[in-house]
């Protein structure tokens, strides 16, 4: 099977070699290349813009801070720019290829200086990016947050095109895609569950994060494996100049981070830890029903890097997080992710940059009764290992070629329950271990066709093998009426390692950009994406117990086609960015569930599944002011997201559970003085749709709701709106002191609106004959919080 995969990718390889040799034959080519770093701590700057004044050509730094520009020999003025940093101009005379490493200085060097940049960066208009949003970690810290916890996933929800099923739900939905259709990468390692505390907070420790980028359209060929988006989170590398610490304490958790050089200027490390501590108060309670319970989460992250020489650098990073819950000795549960990434950056020559990565990632959960005669332990696990190589060839002034390949090996242990006591009433069970192998190779070229027109076009070939994970592995087909539980038929048996089914997919990608004026451009993109993993979940919000399932002989790979068109315009010397994007996305082989589906510990899980299509379309409006005393953004999305599943809603299209017609977010930050900064967030969205009954009957005295139309999501709950405010106080800074701090005071849901999460129907507690509609609000009042942050260097 692998051979056929290789044969098919042969064409790609030939194509690749041809193009590289073609480019390589160019003569008289010289390059300027190097790294752009922060002067204060030596951190690489991702996405800094580098331009040449004389001819207007430019580039931006990659995920490791590397840039490379091809020029003819001569004298040039290079301009290095990054938001929040002082623009640096450098005059160079080039006779042969030159390395130029740059350190940029932060504009507000002291934390309590007001940051006022004079101008923004043109990138919004000139880059190929569309459907891409970056989160500025600096701004996040000033913005009001739920219980004072700065949170990346919650902040993403303020961007255009993003919705959720409701407050405090796990994950996020991008342009009508499911929560499992986002590839969440932490230092290139996939994170299978991004939530702590059932979705209230995310697993990313904000102190340890350097850069956050969300790609929801025009996805370059180097990314694959999920249909809807890429959330690329990069951790800090660590201070290469000196030892420093930072941290904070809020109403929910306490954080601490330490970073230091390993060898000054050559390598550094960073370690960060965060733990929620609300459960400490439980322990102090005299109430026995409380003090024996536990509920907490923690994260540990660490990263080290070492520069061997000009051309070689190593990075090792890891993350480990857990949520723990225990109710006395009666019940215990935990879940968490662990990831590890080893990377080697190698520059073969100034125009050929390579990164080789090895990744390990797992997600597991366990729950059960810890002791007693009916003690049991139920676990579920997904593990993956990936090796990959990604290369960028800065061919010439007009072409940047990216290519690479990767292989991922998955191990799925969907569920096993073991009993601890010999006298137990329950039998041990274990679902079959499944394996998966995902291979991909891609080429992608970013080409300047004319002064105004640029294109980025690429092709990704992906393959997936569904593999038996054990001897006597049984595979069934399923027969029956669509919409009802099907029966397994034609069982076949496989040995460990046998390939049961193989799929191939070609994924073309294309982006075009046409510059209209100095400050405006139009962009268009098309991409096909394929997904071989599926999160099996039929609850409103995803739960930590949901199981990842590979594509099998019965479950087909999901795939999506998306087209998007956008207008980009900057105002006032690039300090204000505006974009308007429209998109249409069609998704195939989407998974849904029969009524009353049994998704846990079910060896015939596939008998419970339904398949169909989804489509989403919308318009996204985004206005962002990056600089000045008052900055922030307005994001408005009009969209529709629908599903058509055979066996649901009489086989007709119906609104998906995260469909919200209108979605508005306004974020404002006002840096009033050196000591005070204020911020506010307002959000409004259409209520999500749900299914309401139109009749009732009784079984044994219990009132049962019934919907005679058999429709799904036939009503909408009332709209959602909320205002949050915060104030940040920077205490007076003693000259020469190495200690800096700030206080963030915030109020979430200022006007204490009881936003409905859902409305459901139940018999009244007092009189079961009376049925009522109940509104569930996750947050029922305003939530004030105080957070103290510090850093010491």
């Amino acid at each position: 099977m692998l051979e056929t995969a290789l044969k098919k990718s042969k064409l790609l390889v030939i194509l690749l070699i041809c193009s590289i040799t073609a480019f390589a034959q160019q003569k008289n080519k010289t390059t300027i290349s190097g790294y752009v770093k922060q002067s204060e701590n030596g951190e690489n700057i991702i996405g800094a813009s580098v331009s040449i004044k004389e001819n207007g050509s430019g580039a931006s730094t990659n995920s490791y801070g590397f840039y490379s520009i091809s020029v003819r020999p001569g004298s040039y003025t290079l301009v290095f720019q990054y938001l929040g940093f002082k623009t640096l101009e450098k005059k160079v005379t080039i006779t042969s290829s030159t390395t130029l490493n740059i350190n940029l200085e932060a504009e507000g060097k002291q934390i309590n200086e007001v940051v006022v940049s004079s101008s923004g960066v043109k990138k919004n208009v000139t880059s190929m990016d569309m459907g891409v949003n970056k989160l500025e970690m600096r701004s996040l810290q000033k913005m009001p947050a739920l219980m004072g916890e700065v949170d990346i996933v919650r902040s993403i929800q303020l961007l255009p095109g993003i919705s959720t099923v409701g407050e405090g739900s796990s994950g996020f939905n991008v342009r009508g895609g499911g929560v499992d259709q986002n590839l969440i990468l932490l230092d290139e390692s996939p994170v299978y569950n991004s939530s702590h505390l059932f979705g209230f907070f995310s697993v990313f420790d904000p102190d340890a994060v350097k850069d956050v980028k969300l790609i929801k359209g025009g996805i370059p060929a180097m990314y694959g494996g999920r249909l809807s988006s890429i959330l690329d989170v990069r951790m800090k590398d660590g201070n290469v100049n000196n030892f420093s610490t930072s941290g904070g304490i809020g109403t929910v958790s306490a954080r601490f981070l330490a970073e230091a050089p390993i060898v000054k200027g050559k390598g550094s490390f960073v370690i960060a830890a965060r733990r929620s501590y609300a459960d400490m108060f439980l322990k102090l309670s005299p109430d026995e029903s409380l003090n024996k319970n536990s509920a907490y989460f923690y994260d540990l992250s660490g990263k080290a890097n070492y520069t061997i020489n000009e051309n070689n650098r190593l990075y090792l990073s890891g993350y480990f997080g857990k949520d723990n819950f225990g109710f006395a000795e009666r019940f215990a549960m935990n879940w968490g992710n662990g990831t590890g990434t080893l990377r080697w950056n190698h520059t073969f020559n100034p125009s050929l940059f390579a990164n080789f990565t090895a990744v390990y990632s797992n997600y597991d959960y366990s729950l059960g009764i810890p002791s007693g005669v009916n003690a049991f332990d139920w676990t579920s696990k997904i593990i993956n290992q990936t090796i990959k190589g990604d290369l960028s060839y800065y061919a010439n002034q007009n072409n940047k070629l990216s290519f690479g390949a990767n292989a991922t090996f998955y191990r799925f242990k969907p569920g096993s329950a073991t009993t601890a006591d010999q006298n137990t009433s329950f039998n041990d069970i274990a679902l079959q271990t499944q394996l998966g192998q995902e291979y991909a190779a891609y080429v992608d070229n970013e080409q300047k066709i004319t002064e105004k027109l640029s294109a980025q076009y690429g092709l990704r070939l992906s393959a997936f093998n569904y593999v038996s994970g054990q001897n006597n592995f049984t595979v069934n087909e399923y027969e029956g009426i669509t919409g009802q539980r099907k029966e397994p038929v034609n069982p076949k048996t496989y040995n460990k390692g046998d390939v049961i089914k193989t799929y191939y997919n070609l994924e073309p990608r294309l982006s075009l950009r046409y510059v209209l004026t100095d400050e405006s451009s139009v962009k268009a993109s098309y991409n096909r994406t394929t997904q071989y993993l599926h999160l099996i979940s039929n609850t409103t919000a995803a739960t930590p117990l949901d199981v990842w399932q590979p594509t099998t002989n019965n479950i087909k790979p999901e795939w999506a086609d998306q087209v998007a068109l956008g207008y980009f315009r900057n105002f006032k010397n690039n300090s204000i960015e505006f974009s308007l994007e429209g998109f249409y996305k069609k998704m195939q082989n989407q998974i849904d569930y029969i009524d009353g589906a049994q998704l846990f510990l079910n060896s015939n899980l596939e008998s419970e599944l339904l398949y169909g299509n989804a489509r989403a379309y919308g318009l996204e409006f985004y206005l962002k002011k990056n600089t000045g005393k008052l900055n922030g953004w307005i994001s408005y999305t009009w969209s529709k997201s629908e599903r058509q599943i055979d066996g649901i809603n009489n086989d007709n299209y119906y609104p998906s559970k995260y469909d919200k017609t209108h979605n508005l977010s306004v974020v404002g930050i006002y840096d009033m003085s050196k000591r005070w900064s204020f911020s506010a967030i307002f959000t409004y969205s259409t209520g999500v749709s749900t299914t309401f009954p139109n009749g009732r009957y009784e079984i044994d005295g219990i009132v049962v709701p019934h919907n005679t139309t058999n429709s799904r999501n036939n009503y909408r709950i009332p709209s959602y709106n909320r205002l949050d405010i915060s104030a940040t106080l920077y205490p007076r800074h003693k000259p020469g002191s190495k200690y800096e701090s700030n206080w963030v005071f915030s109020i979430y849901n200022l006007y204490a609106r009881r936003n409905p999460y859902t409305i459901y129907f139940q018999p009244s507690e007092n009189n079961p004959q009376v049925t009522e509609a109940r509104r569930l609000s996750i947050i029922g009042s305003l939530i004030p919080s105080v957070t103290y942050n510090f850093n010491f260097r």
């Binding site: 109710f327 019940f331 009732r696 709701p705």
Partner: protein, 282 residues
């Protein structure tokens, strides 16, 4: 075991999340009235009752409207047949036919020009409970007040595909709130012996309560019926399942007719164990 614990976990999750709930006004459409059946044939000494009613608008908040003038007939695979007597409107009594292991039953309801049929089979009594114990627990998450929870001992017969419903009587009265629903299948307990397996009740028991637990053998289809029913009547919180109609085994024999039916007709073998909560249990 699985659904029970998942329910328990989801309850705990909902409690952890400091959410708030209140009653709101919602305008709902009223669907057309459908025939609703609720009845079980057993091998108990008392005659069994089959209730035939019709669905009412969701917020009607009255006892279900009875069906007037229905003709209800029960036939067995062993060739017996009986037209049921309408005791009061919509309440039909089975006089002669009893539930016998392995026998299939068809309930036929003729009403308003339509004919509905429900088919079921009496399955073996596979969950054999031999005794009950009580354990005192203080009020906690998931338990409304101090009191005794009930647990059982027993065994399950070899061979997969068995299911049962456990009905609890406290001081002679059936507990019938949605929290008192107990049912299981033998997926994870085939030929197991049960030791101190907990049953769920809305409220714990108190000293001197007389508790009778009846085991009703049910088909797998009936098991799924109760499982879907429980999911729908407890469907709240952030991890709610999509609202969906609970299955029924009552079908209009004219499948193209717009008049459908809801509810369930089943046949069970019933056995029981009893115990009294005493000081010794504390």
């Amino acid at each position: 075991m699985n659904t029970r614990y998942i329910l328990f976990i989801l309850c705990c999750m909902t409690v952890l999340v400091s959410s708030c709930e209140d009653v709101v006004d919602v305008n709902l459409d009223s669907g057309p009235p459908l025939l609703a059946v609720d009845g079980w044939l057993t091998d108990r000494d008392i005659p069994d009752t089959i209730k035939v009613t019709q669905t009412s608008p969701y917020f009607s908040n009255t006892a279900p409207l009875s069906v007037v003038g229905a003709k209800v007939t029960l036939t067995t695979s062993s060739g017996e047949s009986e037209q049921l007597t309408e005791l009061s409107s919509g309440k039909f009594i089975v006089q002669n036919i009893r539930s016998i292991e392995g026998v299939s039953y068809t309930l036929k309801i003729e009403h308003d020009g339509e004919v509905y049929e429900a088919k079921t089979t009496a399955t073996r009594q596979s969950f054999l409970l031999d005794s009950l114990t009580f354990e005192f627990r203080e009020k906690s998450i998931g338990q409304k007040e101090d009191g005794y929870i009930v647990q059982y001992y027993g065994k399950e017969l070899e061979g997969k595909g068995d299911a049962c419903r456990l009905k609890i009587k406290k001081n002679g009265v059936y507990l019938n709130s949605k929290e008192d629903l107990n049912y299981m299948n033998d997926d994870f307990v085939d030929s197991a012996s049960f030791k101190k397996v907990r049953m769920f009740t809305e409220k714990p028991f108190q000293l001197n309560d007389e508790v009778i637990v009846e085991t009703w053998s049910i088909t797998m289809d009936a098991y799924h019926f109760y499982d879907e029913l429980r999911a729908q009547v407890n469907n709240g919180g952030i991890f709610a399942n999509p609202p969906a109609n609970v299955r029924t085994n009552v079908k209009n024999i004219n499948s193209s007719s717009s008049k459908k039916a809801v509810g369930y007709f089943g046949a069970s073998l019933v056995s029981s164990v009893s115990a009294k909560v005493t000081d010794a249990d504390k």
